[in-house]
């Protein structure tokens, strides 16, 4: 763990901004933010975020560590890149949000199980790392049931009509999941990616 890493005991942390600048992907550009509002004004899901990106960045600067890491902003971002292409200061907004989201999970501010997007990402990743492809049926099922058995059945039933339609039009298939051809190579690629990630961010 980095010496400056957020201390969960503290709500405010005056080192927080510096920590973000140095440890979050793209964080070094965050110091260039001029609080113009283009990112929040461009965001299609701004009204479903606790704080828009601009405000969240101001809170980072103000050392409001706990409020930032407990926000849903990072998890509700849909990576549309509007903010990234429009930001006049070349702040990679989306990347920073994702970095903050990762940090929030890692440091225990957000519970993976309680974050809908995180559970979906887990299901997605499970399929990709296992088969090299996403299998709509398995990803959906895994995601639905991650919310509990009864919730899973409820959601599954609720979307039955859509599923049947997708099967009919061959957008979703029954039977064995599709796989990439060379499973061994897939495993090697993923192992390498983990190695690079650990090298860049340290274990954990």
């Amino acid at each position: 763990m980095n010496a400056l890493s957020p201390d969960t005991k503290k709500k405010y942390d005056l080192n927080f901004a510096r920590w973000v600048y140095e440890n979050v992907d793209g964080g070094d550009r965050l110091s260039m933010c001029m609080q113009c509002g283009v990112c929040s004004g461009s965001c299609p899901i701004g009204d479903q975020m606790d704080y828009g990106p601009r405000k969240l960045f101001m809170m980072v600067r103000a050392g409001m560590k706990e409020a930032v890491l407990k926000a849903n902003t990072m998890f509700n971002c849909v990576s549309c890149y509007n903010c990234v292409v429009r930001c006049p200061r070349s702040v990679p907004v989306k990347y920073i949000l994702h970095g903050l989201g990762r940090l929030a999970l890692q440091e225990g501010y957000a519970k993976p199980k309680e974050v809908d997007n995180s559970r979906f990402a887990d299901a997605f990743w499970w399929s990709v790392s296992k088969y090299g492809k996403t299998d709509e049926r398995l990803v959906t099922a895994k995601y639905y049931f991650s919310a509990g058995l009864s919730e899973g059945i409820k959601r599954g039933m609720g979307n039955m009509k859509i599923a049947m339609g997708m099967i009919k039009t061959k957008r979703m298939h029954l039977g064995m999941p599709h796989k990439t051809k060379k499973q061994g190579e897939l495993k090697a690629i993923l192992a390498k990616a983990v190695e690079i990630q650990n090298r860049n961010h340290g274990e954990g």
């Binding site: 001029m34 113009c36 509002g37 929040s40 004004g41 701004g46 828009g52 509007n82 429009r86 006049p88």
Partner: protein
């Protein structure tokens, strides 16, 4: 003076905007031979196209007129309009400059009687009004043109219309046989006062310029407000010719933006404050919203800002709009986040004015010379006495008129030092 051992004391000024004219007049009044080249058919540059000057809201023609009077008294100042630099060879004290002149088709004995314009049939885009309207193919560039001389558009040359135009001139001032020509001059120092051009608003794609006629730029606003502009000074919505009730002025449209011009263009905050004043003067009921990152009213001009802030119909909204969209009725809608209230807004307006910034004149409009430029293409001003090339006005960086004139005086002095140190 082609002999390399003899140094020229002549000073060349390239660009006849307020900076170039000031530098040329100052150097000539100090007794030096001066040659002034201007691309356009008239002097004055961008300033001639402004309606009024901040902060006093006086008329630019006044400042230009004083300079034109000074020019008339100077025998040692030679002016070539419709002329530019094709090539520069040599060095400080001994430059050979080849000058390219495009034909005007009208000689110096033109009395500006206007008979040729009446004979002309075809209409051509009016560059003076940023192509917002048209003029006849034989035209006077604008009311206060200097020189006061008509121009014939090259598009009619070789047609029967050109013959009609020529026949209409009872002073025999039309010369249809004029051709492009090039001649060399020998000079000791060169002042580059090639100015600026507005940043192309079409490049700012989220702002939808060109998708609604009611999204205009600040330079177009100057023409709409000018009595000799396309609407004779009435600020009207281009879409339907009606008076705008709600107007949005968008600051930093293309400036302070790494996707466009990374620097602050320095004058556009005051430009928009001036536009708010134009609108408020014409329409008592109108509301003006100024969208800004921060208002940069430099130097003593803060007082102009303070004055407008006192107007309850003018609102300052701290927000760089994320986008401007075109509504179902064809009118513009400004969208973004108000960074003070945190409100995400979408507000319809009758007229939206983009405060586009200034970028240095196209490097192609300029000459093929090696003068030190900064990372944005402005020519570094402080080196004249060293290599005989000096920059002045906005060619050297974003400046307002008074700062351009100051830099022009400095440039004239440096040019004089450059040619005298050779003597």
């Amino acid at each position: 003076m082609s002999n390399g051992s003899v140094n020229s004391q002549t000073i060349l000024v390239v660009g006849g905007g307020i900076a170039g004219v000031s530098a040329a007049v100052e150097a000539a009044e100090s007794g030096y031979e001066v040659v002034l080249l201007e691309n356009a058919p008239t002097l004055g540059g961008r300033v001639a196209k402004l309606n009024r000057y901040f902060p006093k809201l006086c008329h630019p023609t006044c400042g230009l007129e004083i300079n034109f009077q000074r020019i008339k008294k100077l025998k040692n100042l030679k002016i070539f309009t419709m002329s530019s630099v094709a090539q520069v060879a040599g060095e400080k004290g001994n430059f050979t400059v080849s000058v390219k002149t495009t034909p005007r088709y009208v000689k110096a004995n033109c009395t500006a009687c206007g008979a040729c314009a009446q004979a002309a049939e075809s209409d051509v885009a009016n560059a003076f009004n940023y192509n917002l309207d048209t003029v006849k193919a034989a035209y006077l560039p604008h009311e206060m043109a200097f020189p006061m001389r008509y121009v014939i558009d090259p598009s009619v040359i070789g047609t029967p219309e050109a013959d009609k135009i020529k026949a209409a001139c009872s002073y025999d001032a039309v010369d249809l046989d004029e051709v492009e020509s090039t001649f060399d001059i020998n000079v000791g120092a060169i002042i580059w006062a090639t100015g600026w051009r507005p940043y192309d608003p079409a490049k700012i794609t989220p702002y939808s310029y060109g998708e609604s006629p009611d999204i205009i730029t600040n330079v177009e606003m100057e023409r709409l407000a000018a009595h000799d502009g396309p609407t004779h000074g009435k600020i009207l919505r281009p879409s339907n010719g009606e008076a705008p009730k709600k107007v949005a002025l968008i600051q930093c449209a293309g400036s302070r933006d790494y996707n466009h011009l990374p620097y602050c263009s320095r004058i556009c905050c005051l430009g928009s404050l001036k536009h708010a004043a134009y609108i408020r003067e014409q329409y008592a009921e109108s509301e003006v919203d100024i969208y800004y990152i921060d208002i940069r009213a430099h130097d003593k001009l803060e007082s102009f800002h303070v004055k407008l802030k006192a107007d309850p119909q003018v609102s300052f909204r701290k927000s760089k709009p994320a986008s401007i969209e075109v509504g179902d009725d064809g009118g513009p809608i400004v969208k973004g986040e108000d960074t003070i209230t945190r409100e995400v807004y979408a507000r319809p307006y009758d007229l939206v004015v983009l405060a586009t910034g200034m970028e240095p004149s196209n490097a192609q409009d300029r000459a093929p010379v090696t003068i030190e430029q900064d990372e944005y293409g402005f020519m570094v001003p402080h080196q004249g006495d060293k290599d005989g090339m000096i920059s002045a006005g906005v060619a050297s960086g974003p400046l307002d008129v008074s700062m351009s004139v100051q830099s022009a005086t400095a440039a004239a002095l440096k040019a004089i030092q450059a040619v005298s140190s050779n003597a």
